[in-house]
């Protein structure tokens, strides 16, 4: 049992000071900017909620929001089942195989984000790339620059390459925390492999999986540098996601509108985090109810 002691605050203060300095203070500063027209930073002109009104009434915002949601939905529906499946296969494998696969699959996680699109553009280059030449040889008419579907496929495959390792590692951590006694009990009951997955493994993985869902959702929802470098939102705006709109405004030094957009996006992040917290704590409450 934890003891209640407000002196523990003293231990948390150093961490909070830094988080305040690099997280909260900048947000406060930028909230201030979001209500002003800043031709230059020294010359503010109060415009009230104009920038916000422009964002929430523009069709482009909702189109980008829709594309970002679709992208996240595709990413989650591919990476989550695939990652869990690989983790399940690993669980029944030899120790050596497990560590080899885990090392391999986490390598893309350590590649700096601006190099990932570079590696992939090189890989799918029709003249020099391994995959590009393969596709040219197969004569599928692959053209990621002008065919929207192909750009989407490149982004989804690249993102899966980049992030599958995270889902596998988290899933595997969840699975390997299950005591052997659970499986023995299931075997005595004659449970099928599906039942073992559905009623033992999946519930035991919930904590790590919910973290995987949250991280994967947020990072794919706000995918920026990777998507930008592949096709700069093209062809014809087909891959213009939320963050690319923001990046464009920052690059153009439109401080006011960019500030308002940052705040809008931050509010979206907070909503997602709050929903996630509400959902997971509701589930914990239900679980506590059942276990009584």
């Amino acid at each position: 049992m934890k003891s209640y002691d407000n002196k523990a605050w003293l231990l948390v203060i150093p961490a909070l000071v830094i988080v305040t300095f690099v997280g909260i203070l900048p947000l406060i500063a930028v909230t201030n900017y979001s209500f002003q027209d800043l031709f230059s930073l020294s010359n503010p002109y109060w415009v009230g909620v104009d920038w916000y009104r422009n964002i929430v009434t523009s069709e482009r915002f909702y189109a980008s929001l829709g594309r970002s949601l679709l992208f996240s939905a595709i990413i989650l529906s591919i990476q989550l089942p695939l990652g869990i499946w690989i983790a399940l296969l690993l669980q029944r494998s030899h120790r050596f195989v497990v560590s080899t696969v885990l090392i391999l699959i986490t390598v893309p996680l350590v590649v700096p984000w601006n190099m990932i699109p570079m590696i992939w553009l090189n890989f799918i280059n029709p003249d020099a790339g391994l995959a590009g030449r393969m596709l040219a040889w197969l004569d599928v008419g692959f053209d990621y620059k002008f065919n929207a579907l192909h750009t989407w496929i490149v982004l989804v495959v690249m993102d899966t390459w980049h992030w599958l390792g995270l889902v596998v590692v988290l899933s595997y951590a969840g699975i390997s925390s299950i005591p052997a006694a659970y499986y023995q009990a299931a075997a005595i009951d004659g449970a099928s492999q599906w039942h073992v997955f559905r009623f033992i493994q999946l519930p035991k993985m919930k904590a790590v999986l919910s973290m995987a869902v949250l991280l994967r959702f947020m990072d794919s929802f706000m995918i920026y540098i990777e998507a930008f470098r592949i096709n700069a939102g093209g062809p014809d705006g087909a891959t213009a996601f939320l963050s690319l709109d923001l990046g464009e405004e920052i690059q153009a030094f439109n401080y006011g509108p960019a500030a308002a957009r940052s705040i809008v996006y931050f509010l979206i992040v907070m909503t997602v985090a709050w929903t996630f917290k509400a959902a997971t704590s509701a589930r914990t409450a239900v679980a506590a109810e059942f276990s009584r």
Partner: protein, 265 residues
């Protein structure tokens, strides 16, 4: 759900491995090829010239140094403030503990592009731009939450009696941390350092906006290599250099990667 045979599983793992390795393989191959016309080396032939060029370039060497400075500083900061905070969360309840945990969650998942303008505005006003220290500080926004989560789960796994015995022996809190807690959670510190290193090493949006004119890390030095006539071989050689430390880190923590560290929310 049918059970896959051992051979079937190996075949699937081989496919996964090929999927991961093929794009990297291409990068490694190109890094050993001379990709622009040079005296003495035929274009498109095997050569170590790209790696030699890195060693001869003061700019690129400085970028590698900058990257290491900011990453090491960031990991040290996150561990230094993360360990006491994690201990507080693991052992005590206090006013606002859940709210702080939620705040940390928010900052962990906030994509860096959302914070890039606010941070750029603040840091350029207080003169922390174009400096590895600025990047090290900024990356704390997502790495402090990570370090607190991971360390908290490791500390929670230690029974409370462990602390109480040490305090009865007359240890003060700082001496308990140094003599008992840190050795006991050493694997947790390793895992934390690994994740902080990785997330800081790969981040480019904040790193870019803070180093427009100087203090560039490896990632930004690579961006600067693109131009009218890009030496793709050199770019790929730098990319390989940028991946190697991460791979080394993976190798060091390979046994802990899979062990359960449960992240509390």
């Amino acid at each position: 759900m049918r059970s896959l045979s051992s051979a079937g599983r190996i075949a699937i793992f081989a496919m996964v491995g090929a999927f991961v390795l093929l794009p990297l393989l291409q990068t490694i191959i190109v890094s050993f090829v001379s990709t622009i016309p040079r005296a003495g080396i035929a274009e498109g032939h095997f050569s170590l010239v790209n790696y030699q060029n890195i060693l001869h370039s003061a700019v690129l060497k400085e970028a590698i140094l900058n990257s290491f400075i900011y990453v090491v500083l960031n990991v040290a900061l996150c561990l230094g403030v993360g360990l006491p905070a994690a201990y507080a969360f693991a052992r005590y309840g206090f006013v606002g503990d859940r709210q702080i945990f939620f705040l940390l969650l928010i900052f962990r998942i906030t994509p860096t592009v959302v914070l890039s303008l606010p941070i750029f505005v603040l840091f350029s006003q207080i003169g922390l731009e174009n400096n590895p220290v600025g990047i090290a500080l900024v990356h704390c926004v997502f790495n402090i939450p990570i370090s607190i989560w991971i360390l908290e789960s490791f500390i929670s796994a230690i029974p409370r009696e462990f602390d109480e015995t040490a305090f009865l022996d007359g240890h003060s809190l700082p001496s308990f941390f140094v003599r008992h807690l840190i050795p006991a959670v050493a694997p947790g510190i390793g895992v934390t350092a690994f994740f902080c290193f990785i997330f800081s090493w790969v981040e480019v949006v904040l790193a870019r906006i803070l180093t427009t004119t100087g203090g560039k890390p490896i990632t930004m030095a690579i961006n600067a290599l693109f131009g009218f006539r890009t030496d793709l071989g050199l770019v790929m050689a730098m990319t390989v250099v940028a991946i190697v430390p991460g791979v080394a880190m993976i190798y060091f923590v390979r046994n802990h990667l899979a062990k359960g560290f449960v992240i509390r929310t």
